[in-house]
Assembly symmetry: C2
Amino acid sequence: MTLEKIFEQIVAKRSFLCVGLDTDINKMPAVLNDKEDSVFEFNKAIVDATAAYTIAYKPNLAFYECMGIKGLQSLGKTVRYIRDNYPDIFLIADAKRGDIGNTSKMYARAFFEEHPFDAVTVAPYMGSDSVTPFLSYSGKFVILLALTSNPGANDFQMCKNEDGVHLYEKVLKESVQWGDEKKIMYVVGATRAEMLTSVRNIVPNHFLLVPGVGAQGGSLSEVAKYGMNKKCGLIVNASRSILYADSSENFANAAAEEAKKMQLEMEALLIEHRIVK
Amino acid sequence: MTLEKIFEQIVAKRSFLCVGLDTDINKMPAVLNDKEDSVFEFNKAIVDATAAYTIAYKPNLAFYECMGIKGLQSLGKTVRYIRDNYPDIFLIADAKRGDIGNTSKMYARAFFEEHPFDAVTVAPYMGSDSVTPFLSYSGKFVILLALTSNPGANDFQMCKNEDGVHLYEKVLKESVQWGDEKKIMYVVGATRAEMLTSVRNIVPNHFLLVPGVGAQGGSLSEVAKYGMNKKCGLIVNASRSILYADSSENFANAAAEEAKKMQLEMEALLIEHRIVK
């Protein structure tokens, strides 16, 4: 997947929405209970209902790993289904991986060879050699954690170093030397939209994956105000607000409604910022 | 698993060795090629040959995930085999996970409920709420990354904040408020043994998981000099130097020899520090 293709999708769908597939078997509609692979059936229904409004899907690995082999089979089927049926969709493994070089190389193989993901989220704590093995794949992206949407982001990411630079800014400044916007994107939480100004000072052209709109309380218009660049530069994720919009057999329609609502908000912002007419 | 049981193992086996099961199908002896599950057969042979010298095993998740479902089945069989046949062994999932609270909760479920691991390695970048879900399990440990053994550790972990405190020290200082030595251990790389003095100033009683001895070049006696406390307080990992000591059909004997060599070095250090007689 190239940046150009992602931008084409944004323009065509008038949307920069990513749907997070944090599929929780305990929150799924009862109507799926008797299916052999209810997790896959749920994901398939959500994807089919929302793909018109969505440029990316982001399965959250934890939700599949906690179900053991069966969960990982559901994940594999989901990823393959999206790849085969919606080849233009940007496919993100939300996995927060990162380890010493020889190990990160194996994780890269897992997500980019064993699975057909276009991108994987990576934690920066272990530094350059924990990230670079993911960068050697052409047409694949690392989405590096910079400033996350959770309360714990204050514990370390917001710490200032001797030069008054926050750790998340240091992560941005260092990592732009490892790969440019064709290889790296960043996670920046919507719950800290005002920080997007300092992020954009360091990485004006990189795409940002923005979680925290919806269930976590971030504002879409604030995110666009501080974070949008002339190629949009934003992929905004929503998970729970779309997946569990309705717990009846009408769940897929309700998810589509919710995704469409976000797409319309995004369309207005794209027009306002003169990215589409 | 309790700290007392880990210490009992150290005294009984006169060892603080952990064998890292970074099982790479491309490095395994050809004699296993025709086995149906050669990864499991390799692990089983290594475990049976080294268990007398070892207090812990640490499968590295990346090496299994990169082989897809088949790799994860081999991992499951390996973990179950160790748990059933060597119930006193400390079982570590080297997974470097960590995400927002509701997601870390799912990872905790994966490692502590779906698998019978005693501990999981966790990356601290996302702060307290990314770690605390792992701490709610009785008899289970988080092993938090503090100072890792790779070159990239210099990029962020060694950065000093406004008060002259390194990031890895800040991680130690904050996280001791989330859980004590009965719940948390730390990763501190052997390649930076001299830093163990500052680590021990902050966490005198916590166990440290120390990678980097062997293939990465760290020194065991330096680690003991700066890091050992009166309950040993060290679990030193070796992976490649033991697993791939020999590529012939004699691989398991060679691994046992290598593990025994390390155990004897460790025994001398335990005697020197008056932990065993």
